[in-house]
Amino acid sequence: MPGSWDYVTLLLYLASLGLYVRFVYTGRRATGRWAAAALALGLLGHYLALLQRSHWVHSVPYDDLYGSLSLFGWLLGATYLGLELYYRQRSMGTFVVPCVLALYVAGTWPGQHLPATHLEQGPMFALHVTLSVLAYAAFALAFLLSAVYLLQHHYLRRRGATGWRCPAMWRFPPLEGLEKMSRGSVLVGLVSLVAGTGLGLAWEYETARHVSLADPKVLVTLLIVVLYGGYLRISRRAGWRGARASLVCALAFLLVIFSYAVVNLYLSGFHRYL
């Protein structure tokens, strides 16, 4: 059930989205700053809403799919805001904030709560889940950056004026910037995923005294690490750098969706140790 912070957060995210869209159309720096400020406040509200939810259900925010979605949205927004401040590129907010908003609404408004199943898992488990969700959020961001790269690359290669009619096209980050941001995001994701998986395996060993590599979640995670590691490698190599590497990055995200949605929903029995 949505709490008081949820409505405030929703309004702030909507305001941020409106301001980001206005920013790419008008190019006014002040509008961009307000958009980022609204997003930062939205993330603060979202954080408080997650806390409120935890208090209500006496559990961690990711104890069911809805909470996990909400946490995913929060980490996606926070990672993006960090990248925005580091690279000084605001226009991507137009693509990122709708995703944050959608994840937030999907995680908050259904009004259901699946009963908590594992309350006694301890801080190592909590960190394992949080780092894994952070990794998914960073990969989602890399996907969006790669998609904008491919779109812009497409228009630049077409050579004609089509596409440049839209003022927003002149304001998205340049291809080199998108590539750097995407690599940065994937790096954050990989480090988080490797650390999160390591913690998960350590927790599993502590709990069950064995480590099961036959777990589909672990296998898909390893595949994700290999794919994104490969992306980081080819993105600087001749013949792959540029659009081809961005395509690999975008396609790799399909596996992340598979891991997050399909494995979690349908193969979750293999990933339970209590």
């Binding site: 008008t26 190019g27 006014r28 720096r29 812009q152 630049l156 290669r157 050579r159 004609g160 004026a161 440049w164 009619r165 003022p167 002149w170 980050p173 340049p174 291809l175 080199e176 910037g177 190599r237 001749a238 013949g239 792959w240 750098r241 540029g242 659009a243 081809r244």
Partner: protein, 425 residues
């Protein structure tokens, strides 16, 4: 106090006349000094660009005509007054203010929304201020105009889109590489178009600039002018390995850069992105090269299409830019009306006080029998009567709702009391 503008621009005068009436910075300084010494203007600024020569001034006599200024303008450039017939425009007060703000905003430019004019307005003002030829009115006017120009550029799309093929191409290069500061460019050809491209690249602080032309002397000259390096024409295939941007504008019947050359270069570059701007006609770069990976090729047709589209987009921004200018003009006019209100009250007080003194002096006989204290009392009472008489007009001026209304009241007072015909201070 009247703001007056006299000048000509690309709409009213042919280029030959604009060239003859241009002011160098020394000319501008001399002209403003002469005008102020001759007593015609209290403050003066001259704005001279390739498209306009304009003289902005402030004078106290609001009823004087502009004939003497027009004559000065003609004389200064060794022209007769009739030679300027139909070319000069004269604006005063709000019209002059509006004109300057539109100029600073790029709304009056030949190339709509061009950025250079704002810098030229700023420079003209700085020079005049340094020479001491500005005062409170022109200081305020030019600062407000610069603010209007800055706001139009920040809040509208009027000046953001490139309007020449070369600048559109460089803008596209920024879409690929971002800030060009850390990148390099190669110019093929050393003609006018290459120079234009070099100018745009230098403005963006390109890190390295190479120039290759069939005539090595011209390449050397262009390289020297833009702090680049010239390279021999026959080293072109090797030269393709380095740059991120290549601008070709060579007179040649056949493409001078073939697909094979570019394919080889891209292999050697490890497919590092290369943006090619083919500004030659006939084309200098084999169009078949467009399919090479990580290579972005634009010819004149595609760039011209982008420029035409940008021009239409800029034109759509005119109403928004005009709204910004209108707001800034109104703010300035409110300030000017407040100042004019204070001036007219000062003038009126000075005139009435002079009349009062004359009257007291003319009544010397009748007041001769009064003791000094009684004479002082009469002085005090008549002075107080004057204060009370002026209270109502001062209050009405203060309460005027708009600058325009206040200016009307000021004009009415000046007319009723003949404040411009004879200054009595």
């Amino acid at each position: 106090m009247q703001i007056i503008l006299i000048g000509l621009n690309h709409r009213t005068a042919p280029v030959a006349l604009r060239e003859r009436t241009a002011f160098s910075s020394e000319d501008a300084q001399r002209a403003t000094a002469e005008l102020r010494q001759a007593g015609g203007l209290e403050e003066a600024v001259i704005l001279s660009t390739c498209n306009r020569s304009e003289l902005y001034g402030v004078r106290h006599d609001t009823r004087g005509d502009s004939a003497n200024l027009e004559l000065f303008f003609a004389d200064f450039h060794g022209l007769s007054r009739p030679q300027l017939d139909g070319c000069l425009y004269v604006h005063s007060d709000r019209e002059a203010v509006d004109h300057l703000f539109r100029v600073a905003a790029g709304l009056d430019s030949q190339l709509l929304g061009e950025a250079e004019v704002l810098g030229q307005v700023r420079e003209a003002y700085r020079r005049a201020a340094d020479a001491g030829s500005t005062g409170p009115v022109l200081n305020r006017l030019f600062q407000a105009a610069i603010e209007a120009g800055r706001r139009v550029r920040a809040e509208t799309e009027l000046g953001t889109r490139p309007m020449s093929a070369a600048s559109a191409g460089i803008k596209l290069a920024e879409r690929v590489f971002g800030d060009l500061g850390g990148h390099s460019a190669l110019l093929l050809g050393a003609g006018e178009v290459a120079e234009q491209a070099a100018e745009h690249l230098r403005q963006r602080k390109i890190k390295r600039l190479w120039i290759a032309a069939r005539g090595r002397d011209r390449a050397d000259a262009l390289a020297a002018r833009y702090e680049g390096a010239s390279i021999p024409w026959d080293e072109l295939p090797r030269a393709l390995l380095q740059p991120d941007v290549l601008v070709a504008s060579v007179s040649a019947e056949q493409p001078v850069v073939s697909r094979a050359m570019l394919a080889e270069a891209m292999r050697a570059r490890n497919n590092r992105s290369l943006l090619l701007l083919d500004l030659g006609l006939p084309r200098n770069i084999d169009p078949a090269a467009a399919d090479l990976y990580n290579l972005y090729l634009y010819d004149l047709d595609s760039l011209t299409e982008i420029v035409a589209q940008n021009r239409r987009a800029r034109e759509r921004e005119i109403p928004r830019a005009e709204a910004v200018v209108e707001g800034q003009v109104s703010k300035f006019e409110a300030w000017r009306a407040g100042r004019a209100g204070r001036d007219v009250l000062d003038d009126l007080r000075a005139r009435l006080d002079a009349r009062r003194r004359r009257l007291l002096e003319s009544q010397g006989g009748a007041l001769a029998g009064l003791a000094p204290e009684e004479r002082a009392e009469v002085e005090r009472l008549t002075g107080r009567l004057l204060d009370e008489l002026l209270e109502e007009p001062a209050d009405r001026l203060r309460r005027a709702r708009t600058g325009r209304e206040r200016m009307q009241l000021v004009e009415t007072l000046r007319n009723l009391f003949g404040l411009d015909s004879e200054k009595e201070r």
